[in-house]
């Protein structure tokens, strides 16, 4: 599997209520990079992530994935393209009442005929693929458990397994560990890192803690007020840059 290349040109998003969440964002990501996006709450990280798979329609600019302009795609073409873009969320976004296995299998829906859904049918090889992915994130024994019975860390691993079902070339991770404790954060991010290193998947990951960003990122993008204020290597973020991104009062907190 090879990672996708991503390029944004002058992307902007203004919400109907007038909020300018993104203003003129341009950057390019090479295949296989692990880009960490940092910034305060409300700096536009989530909006940026959702513009890339068009869960939110950007109001201006162009987005290229492997040189395909996705802003020009029809709804149906976009749906097909989404199959190769995995996404994991801060709140995990699992269907709480469904089993872990069903949640994982739902990652494969884009590849299956919609008529299967009416009968709740999944082919045998897809079930086997789901079990393999659950195995990969270390919770195969939870397959028949209801999703809401799992701990936060386990739920996020189900989220990763669901994204794995898509065989993605690009993974969007919207603050995947913001609801987890430090130890669990590392165990979850290690799976994301493995996906990046082993499978070569390009990763775009929003994180809150600079220490985590430095530990996992190969490159850091900082957003502030909907604009990129920093784009460089993790080592380049010093005290001065940190205050630029997070404001004068900010203190850096360490996460073990």
């Amino acid at each position: 599997m090879r990672g996708a290349a991503l390029r944004l040109e002058h992307v902007a998003k203004t919400y109907p209520d007038g909020t300018r969440a993104l203003r003129d964002i341009s950057f390019a990501v090479r295949p296989g990079e692990f880009v960490v996006i940092i910034g305060l709450s409300g700096s536009g990280k989530s909006t940026l992530m959702r513009c890339i798979n068009r869960l939110i329609e950007p109001t201006a600019g162009r987005i290229y994935i492997d040189d395909v302009d996705i802003t020009a795609l029809s709804h149906e073409e976009m749906r097909r393209l989404r199959r190769s873009i995995g996404m994991i969320f801060q709140q995990f976004n699992l269907v709480r009442r469904s089993t872990v296995l069903t949640n994982v299998l739902s990652g494969r829906l884009g590849y299956l005929p919609p008529s299967f859904a009416l009968m709740n049918y999944f082919p045998k090889d897809e079930v086997a693929r789901a079990m393999a992915n659950l195995n990969r994130v270390g919770i195969p024994e939870k397959a028949r458990t209801r999703a809401d019975q799992l701990s936060g860390g386990q739920q996020q691993r189900v989220g990763i397994a669901r994204a794995l079902m898509q065989e993605p070339t690009l993974l969007l991770a919207d603050e995947p560990v913001a609801s987890l404790d430090p130890a669990t954060s590392h165990s979850v991010l290690k799976y994301v890192e493995e996906l990046n290193k082993k499978d070569g998947v390009t990763v775009l990951c929003a994180l809150h803690f600079l220490s985590l960003a430095r530990r996992y990122g190969t490159r850091i993008l900082a957003l502030k007020g909907g604009e990129i204020v920093f784009d460089g290597l993790p080592a380049e973020i010093d005290e001065r840059r940190f205050k630029e991104i997070y404001g004068e009062e900010a203190e850096e907190v360490e996460i073990a």
């Binding site: 749906r79 996404m87 069903t102 739902s106 829906l109 884009g110 859904a117 898509q166």
Partner: protein, 395 residues
């Protein structure tokens, strides 16, 4: 309080305890007035609870021996012709073969005592003596057990009985009847048990049909009554308010009142009950369903959409799992509620077990009424348990 007024006021009075504060005393006085008026206006009369106990005693007694099982009953019946007027001879009845009933005299004025003996009857059985007037209405005058030889003896007082439409000599010709009764064979379900069983099944199905009608109407309506779906434009908002108003008005009308309306409309019987419960349940379920739709978590919808699933797949795997289990749970709960309500609806003619329960009570057939009461209790408890199990499993 009075001491406070006389004593010199200290510069910094310690705060009075809360139960001495003026506000609290005022509150207490207010409560007292409210409850005093309430006691009076609701005519609470505790001695009546004791004095009136004798009226419910027969019912309570029969409650513990409902008419469920019975044996086949056999009877022997013999009559003796009597006259209450010395000037009128008794009828000439053909002498019966078999058991014999004799009286000390066949001419006995009203209020006189008559010795009654019988022989050849079934041994150790209940014999009941009736005085029968010229138009055939019996009136119980005695009760006695037959001995081991099938004989019995009793003394009765001749009662004042109706002498028939024409007060001629014929009116003095009356009869004494004895009925000896015993049971044979094994216990079997009584007729009441069959009727109650049939009616309780009718009740459960009445509730089921009412609930089904309600589900069919409430599912689509609930989407119109969901704030998160409808309040995106003015048309939707007005539809939302109309739907919610309908729910609230219909929910506030008791099914009992609806049942009265429908018995006038479609006549007495279970159909009226089905309509009444159905209409009320549309509103009750519609409101519950709407609130469930409003509380859908948009997260899973976003996540499944992001995997490249089509709209149908998103509905099936992100929306349906969030609303169908609670819908099922609410529906079963409603069915359970409707079984309970249909009992009351039967009282106003809406069919089901309430209909016959009311008849039994009016006819003072308390053992039969008890059978119906127990059947209702059992079914309601069973439904309650079932719905709890299902709710636990699905929600």
């Amino acid at each position: 309080m009075k001491q406070d007024a006389l004593a010199p006021r200290p510069t910094l009075a310690p705060p009075r305890p809360w139960f001495q504060s003026g506000k609290f005393l005022l509150f207490l006085a207010g409560l007292l007035v409210i409850y005093a008026y309430g006691w009076q206006v609701t005519k609470i009369n505790l001695p009546e609870l004791v004095a009136g106990a004798k009226f419910v005693r027969p019912f309570i007694r029969d409650l513990v021996r409902p008419d469920v099982l019975t044996r086949t009953r056999q009877t022997q019946q013999v009559e003796v012709a009597m006259s209450v007027d010395p000037a009128v001879a008794p009828e000439d009845l053909p002498a019966p073969s078999g058991p014999v009933l004799r009286t000390s005299t066949q001419v006995a004025p009203v209020g006189s005592q008559v010795q009654v003996t019988g022989s050849g009857f079934r041994p150790n059985a209940q014999a009941t003596l009736f005085w029968v007037n010229p138009i055939g209405n019996p009136q119980q005058v005695g009760r006695v057990m037959t001995d081991a030889q099938g004989a019995f003896g009793a003394t009765i007082t001749v009662p004042e009985a109706f002498r028939g439409p024409e007060a001629g000599p014929r009116g003095a010709q009356q009869r004494l009847r004895v009925v000896v009764e015993w049971t044979v064979g094994p216990l079997r379900p009584s007729n009441t048990a069959y009727i109650v069983l049939q009616k309780i099944v009718e009740t459960v199905f009445l509730a089921l049909m009412g609930t089904t009608i309600a589900v069919v109407a409430a599912v689509p309506l609930s989407f119109l009554g969901a704030r998160n779906l409808m309040t995106k434009n003015p048309v939707g908002t007005s539809v939302y308010y109309v739907t919610r108003t309908f729910f609230n008005i219909m929910r506030s009308i008791e099914p009992l009142i609806l049942a009265i309306v429908f018995t006038v409309w479609v006549g007495l019987g279970p159909f009226a009950g089905v309509l009444a419960l159905g209409l009320h349940s549309i509103a009750a379920l519609g409101k519950l369903y709407s609130e469930q739709i409003e509380s859908i978590d948009p997260g899973p919808i976003e996540a499944v959409t992001a995997t490249g699933a089509s709209a149908l797949q998103v509905v099936r795997y992100a929306v349906v799992p969030q609303i169908v289990p609670p819908f099922i749970a609410f529906t079963i709960y409603r069915w359970d509620t409707n079984v309970r309500m249909s009992t009351v609806i039967g009282f106003v003619g809406g069919g089901g077990i309430g209909f016959i329960l009311q008849q039994y009570i009016n006819l003072l057939q308390y053992r039969q009424a008890a059978t119906a009461v127990w059947a209702i209790t059992l079914v309601v408890a069973a439904m309650d348990y079932l719905s709890a199990v299902v709710r636990e499993k699905y929600v």
